[in-house]
Assembly symmetry: C2
Homo-oligomer: 103 residues x 2
DNA sequence: CTATTTTTATTGGATAACCGATAACTATAT
DNA sequence: ATATAGTTATCGGTTATCCAATAAAAATAG
């Protein structure tokens, strides 16, 4: 299960201005694995080149207006693709019960 | 925004037994783009080789028990990574308003 | 002000994801 | 039985994703 990295990064940055390390740590908290610098910084550079984020003297990244528009579009795409989130959540719980019985 | 394909496929198959074409059409409905046969069938083969899905005479795919466990684990991962879905949804709406003003 | 550590960033390369083109198989019709 | 249409599947190659290793820059300590 790969991808979605730049989407998550845009989302995190939109919530709060963050440094590269901040982002890596927040992703670790969510996914369990901390992305390496070789993952984070090229992604930040890519987003910067596309004009979606900007960085200040403190190495803190924030969204540009274009970044906000891009995030909006990606959020729409996300909720379109996962249009049955409630069902997914319910399934998640019921599967947990089912699988328990067969261990 | 790539990836997540096999996750979506497991999820769709778990809801209803499906053929390759069924899956492609459902993904088209959600994402807008219909994945090509060269995307769908290798992915199905991969999942079959891993013992996560099985296929019957009618070319209809269903989850195996291992597939259900795998789906559970991926659902947990998904909701762990996107632990703030409500916030994302709210942001999606408010961004739509903000961006409108600047067109 | 130098040395050390920490953070930020780049590079090269390995792997995975994906598609276009094409082939094989199935089903239906003639 | 043969042709046609549609579905299922494979293959080769392109691009994207991601990491390990390394370098550069910044912060902190001595």
């Amino acid at each position: 299960m790969k991808g979605f990295l730049s989407f998550i990064m845009l989302w995190l940055i939109s919530k709060k201005a963050m440094t590269g390390t901040d982002i890596a740590l927040e992703i670790k908290k969510r996914k369990g694995t901390k992305p390496s610098p070789g993952t984070i910084y090229p992604a930040l550079k890519y987003l910067r080149n596309k004009g979606l984020i900007k960085v200040n003297q403190k190495k803190t990244y924030t969204l540009t207006r274009a970044g906000k528009k891009e995030l909006e579009s990606q959020l729409n795409f996300f909720f379109g693709t996962f249009c049955d989130l409630d069902e997914m959540k319910a399934c998640c719980k019921s599967l947990k019960q089912q699988n328990k019985r067969y261990i």
